[in-house]
Symmetry: C2
Subunit: 274 residues, 2 copies
C-alpha cells in the first residue's frame, strides 16, 4: 500500500497510471480522508449504507419503495466486503475516505476505515448520488449555484413522506438548485435520463407546498440565493436514507461521512437510460 | 357527397364505417363548420397556413428556425391541394370546417371551403397542434384546466422573439396550463416526447419574465385561474404563425379558423419520438 500524507488531496493523484477511480480508492485505503467532490471526474460516486442482515431486507425494500431518494446502484453479498459490479478490486471496508459508525441513532465514531467494525452479517448498499446528474447538467452549460460558490448544496427536510418499510420511515430530504425557468425545463429533461441518480426533480417553484418554511435556512448544507427570475428546483436527495437510518435508532449501522463518497468504476454516462 | 345539416356536430359522425378522421374530413367537405375539439380522438389535428410560392420558402425557413411554435407535420407540393402523408384522399381546399382568407393582414372572408381561392402557385403547410400533447397529458391523468372548464386555452403574446425569415417575424405566442409542481415536472417529460406538436414547455413559473403583464388577461382564448399551489406552464403555440402572417400584412394568405382544424389520419401516439 502507498503511504500518503493526509494533507494530499485525492484530486492530486493523477500520476499513478491507474484509472482515476481506482487511484482514488487506493488513496482512501492509504488513509486519505478529503472530500470526493471533483475527484475522478466522469466516474459515478455513491452514498453508502451498511446494515446487519436482519435489517437489510427491510432497508432494501425501503429503497425499492422510494427509488428517487434511494436508488440502489450496487450491493454486497452478506458478509462480503466486495462489490465487483462497481469495481473489481473494491473493498467497501477501506475504499471510502471516511465513514460514520452509528449506534442507537447516534454517530459514535468517524473512522477512515471500518476493518475493526466489519462483521459476517453486514450488507453494504451503494446508492446513486447527485454528483452524476450535476455533471450532466454542467455538460449542457446549466449553472449550478452551489458549485459556482464552492459551498455544499442546500438540503431540506420536506413534508413528503417516504413509503415506510420495517423500521425505516420518515420524510424525504431534497436538494435545491435555483435555475431560470427555461433551464429548469431543460434540467427536468436531462435528469429524467438518469433515474439511478435521483432522476427528475420532485418539485419546483413552491417550497411551502413541500413543507419548506424558509428557503434561506436549509436543514443540511449551505444556503444559496434564489434570484427573482429563477425558481427553486428540488431533487430527491441521498441524505434521505441517512436521515431515516438515524431516525430508526438502529442498534448498529455504518454510512459514509457527508461529501466523502465511494468512487466507483462506473461512468456517469453509462447511467443514462436513453 | 353526403348532405348534412349544419347543426350536426362532427363528433356525431360515428356511423359511416369510415375511420373517424376520414369521416370528419368528409363531413367538412359536406359543409359542416363546427369546432374539431374532441373530434376523432387519437388522431392528429393541424394548424393550416397557405401561402403563394414566392413567400412559401421564407415561411418554411421561418418554421425551420422556430420549430417549437411552428412544427411542420405536412406540406403540399406547389399548386397541389393534396397532402397524402396526412391522408390519402385529403383535399386541403375542402377538408377543414372553416378557413380564413387574409388580404393585406386582414381577414376578409371566413368560407367553409377555398375552392374559389385556390391557385396554381399556392403551398399549404400543416403545423402540429396542442390537442395532440393534451391527449398525452390527459392519458396520464394530468388535469387540463381549460378543458375541465370547457373554455378555450388562454394564450399570450410574449417578449420571446421568433427568429425572423423574410417578411415573417414577431413574438412567440404561448398557451398556458396551470399545474401543481409535480404535475408540471411530469408534463415536461411527457411533452418532450412530442416535439412535432410543440414539445416541452418554453417557460414556467414567472409570466413577467416572458413579458406577460397579467396572467388573468390572455391575448387570445379565455382566462383560467392559477391556484396558489400551482404554477403556470407555458408552451409554444400554433397561433404564432397566424399572428406572424397577420403582422407581415401579406397581400394574400389562407389559414384555418381558430379551433376549426385539419383532422389528419396520423395517430397522436405515432408522434412520440421515444
Amino acid at each position: 500500500m502507498i503511504s500518503l500524507a493526509r494533507t494530499e488531496r485525492l484530486s492530486d493523484r493523477a500520476d499513478t497510471g491507474l484509472p482515476p477511480s481506482v487511484a482514488a480508492r487506493h488513496a482512501c485505503r492509504a488513509g486519505m480522508a478529503s472530500s470526493t467532490a471533483g475527484v475522478a471526474n466522469g466516474f459515478v460516486q455513491g452514498n453508502l449504507a451498511i446494515l446487519p442482515e436482519k435489517l437489510a431486507a427491510s432497508f432494501h425494500r425501503f429503497c425499492q419503495l422510494n427509488p428517487k431518494p434511494c436508488p440502489v446502484i450496487g450491493m454486497s453479498d452478506v458478509g462480503d466486503p466486495r462489490i465487483p459490479s462497481l469495481g473489481i478490486d473494491l473493498d467497501i471496508r477501506t475504499d471510502l475516505p471516511r465513514y460514520r459508525v452509528w449506534r442507537d441513532g447516534e454517530v459514535v465514531e468517524e473512522p477512515t476505515d471500518i476493518m475493526a467494525h466489519w462483521r459476517d452479517d453486514l450488507v453494504a448498499f451503494v446508492l446513486g448520488c447527485s454528483f452524476s446528474f450535476e455533471e450532466a447538467l454542467m455538460a449542457e452549460d446549466l449553472p449550478i449555484r452551489h458549485i459556482e460558490r464552492k459551498v455544499r448544496v442546500p438540503m431540506y427536510r420536506t413534508n413528503i413522506a417516504c413509503a415506510p418499510s420495517g423500521p425505516f420511515a420518515g420524510p424525504m430530504v431534497v436538494s435545491m438548485r435555483p435555475l431560470k425557468p427555461a433551464d429548469a425545463i431543460r434540467a427536468v429533461q436531462i435528469t429524467s435520463r438518469f433515474p439511478s441518480v435521483h432522476g427528475a426533480p420532485v418539485h419546483l417553484g413552491h417550497p411551502h407546498s413541500i413543507g419548506i418554511a424558509d428557503i434561506a435556512k436549509p436543514d443540511y448544507g449551505d444556503p444559496v440565493p434564489v434570484e427573482a427570475d429563477e425558481i427553486p428546483v428540488f431533487w430527491a436527495c441521498g441524505v434521505t436514507p441517512q436521515a431515516v437510518i438515524a431516525a430508526a435508532k438502529l442498534p448498529f449501522a455504518i454510512t459514509h461521512a457527508p461529501g466523502l463518497m465511494l468512487v466507483t468504476d462506473l461512468k456517469n454516462k453509462q447511467l443514462a437510460v436513453l
